[in-house]
Amino acid sequence: MTQVTLRVDDVMGEIERDVRARLRLHLIKRGGAADYQDEEIFDAVHALLARAVDERNLDATLLPELLDSDVEWRLRTHLELTTHRPAVGRFILFVKRKMLLPMTRWLFEYSQENFRRQDHLNRVLFACIEELALENARLRRDLQSTEPASAGKPA
């Protein structure tokens, strides 16, 4: 007799449902949003945030593009050594690169890792905001398409 295939999707569906249920109860117990008493609302919020975290390309979101024309806002995780002195500049850079930097590299690398984490978190938050904005835009479009043509016009 041929064995029926055990589908990963089915098992994962079961596991993910169970995980969501436990997460919801955990948040309610810890005083999370009252709306989470409603399972449907929790699932909708979970799905939206999971979409932002798991499915969005964090390197291609709109908000950073809009901010780019504004003040410098990005976390700078790399180190740039420069000088404004034309004559002794080369010497100053040499001292910074060959003497100062090796001595302080441990501190730079320690803070660099934390900057990287913050940078990642920022990008996740950008994606979450964008996902909310997208959903809002879709809902507006759907709402407008269901409104009668005369709606909103003065009698």
Partner: protein, 385 residues
């Protein structure tokens, strides 16, 4: 045909994924073709320090030409440049410079391609991210086949690659996910095939006495490979510790060279590098293989585990790993700690289901990854170009 295989490091004692892939494919190609390996003298993938003597040697039926590395990698400069390039703030020159800094810088290898490239019918390049492929492929583009070994990391999106990916006459991809990732940037209609890698059926039952010496008791789950934060090992340890907080008595065995501290814990067993016999015994006796890496272009270890009928638990944030598990119906995946705990719990407490997932993985390897299947795809592509 007269074929050249260009790879940044070469040797039976080199553990890297793309290097191992190149070696296996080249050895199988040599059964039908005249194959030359073009590589560097480097062994260490961090510094690219020269280790092997330059010049010509034989490795079985393969001719190996090694070229010296002109300068070692300057890690700090490379990391600073990486930050700039990965944050999409690099100029075209910075991007070119990134490939130069990544190395290995072997000018004689490029000169060989420039002078003798046309003597080969096809030149196969492994790993687009290394200097040999990035600067070498354009020199013989009319006969070049690229095995990109691409992962969904920030590098894949840099502008410099648009031109580069338009150059090869053919592509050999490791997975359908990689085909989608790179294929979208290659000209339409370019010859390509998804090959993965070939495996022989696993040898007779593993020698389990090798585990007695290690005093490994059932049950244990297995991580096999380089123990490195970039491979997701820190997150794996965090997730595993959360799981055993619940009182479960399973051990995490980590077999492979380590480049990070591993916490001392009675349920975590780092073994360091293990030989093939121990590796087989571990695969034969573990309850599941865990693959926490967020970036993979194939994962040979996953295929080896399925070859032994072992179910897998993989990081869902890696599209390739999740795709492989879904196509094979050969394991489970997780996107966060809570899912890791739940999925591992399922595998450990549903032994029949876990066994079936492992057997389905084995059936998938039988369907897709046996050598005759893989080599017939490669030969068809080489003939088609």
């Amino acid at each position: 045909m007269k074929l050249a295989c260009v790879i940044h490091r070469y040797g039976a004692d080199i553990a890297g994924g793309s290097e191992g892939h190149c070696r296996l494919i080249a050895e199988h190609l040599a059964a039908e073709h005249e194959v030359t390996i073009l590589t560097t003298c480097a062994k260490d993938h961090i510094t690219w320090r020269n280790h092997y003597p330059a010049g010509e040697t034989r490795a079985g039926s393969l001719r190996v030409l090694r070229f010296p590395v002109a300068r070692e990698r300057e890690l700090h400069r490379f990391m600073d440049l990486s930050d700039l390039v990965f944050a999409d703030r690099a100029t075209a020159e910075d991007q070119e410079q990134w490939f130069r800094e990544n190395g290995p810088d072997a000018p004689d290898l490029l000169e060989h391609l420039r002078r003798h490239g046309t003597e080969y019918d096809r030149v196969l390049f492994w790993s687009y991210r290394y200097a040999g492929a990035y600067f070498g492929l354009p020199l013989v583009a009319d006969r070049a086949v690229l095995v990109p070994t691409a992962e969904e990391d920030p590098l894949i999106h840099v502008d410099a690659l648009s031109r580069f990916f338009s150059l090869p006459k053919g592509f050999l991809f490791l997975t359908p996910e990689e085909e989608t990732l790179v294929g979208a940037r290659a000209p339409a209609g370019r010859a390509s095939a998804v090959i993965g890698c070939g495996l022989d059926p696993s040898p007779a039952p593993a020698d389990l006495s090798r585990l007695d010496a290690l005093r490994l008791a059932d049950p244990f789950i297995l991580y096999l490979g380089r123990i490195d934060p970039n491979k997701g090992c820190q997150a794996l340890i965090r997730n595993f510790l959360r799981y055993v907080e619940g009182g479960e008595g399973v051990t995490l065995v980590m077999a492979g060279p380590s480049s990070m501290p591993i916490p001392e814990h009675p349920l975590i067993r780092p073994l360091g590098y293990v030989d093939d016999a121990v590796r087989e015994a571990l695969l034969a006796n573990a309850r599941a293989l865990v693959m926490p890496s967020p970036f993979e272009s194939l994962s040979m270890v996953l295929l080896e585990a399925w070859n032994r009928g072992l179910p897998a638990l993989v990081n869902a944030r890696c599209k390739v790993l999740r795709g492989q598990v879904e196509r094979a119906d050969g394991g489970l995946y997780y996107g966060n700690t809570v899912e890791f705990v739940a999925a591992l719990d399922y595998l450990l407490h549903h032994p029949d289901a876990a066994r079936q997932l492992g057997q389905q993985g084995l059936a998938y390897v039988d369907r897709e990854y046996r050598w005759p299947t893989v080599m017939s795809k490669i030969d068809a592509l080489l003939a088609q170009m």
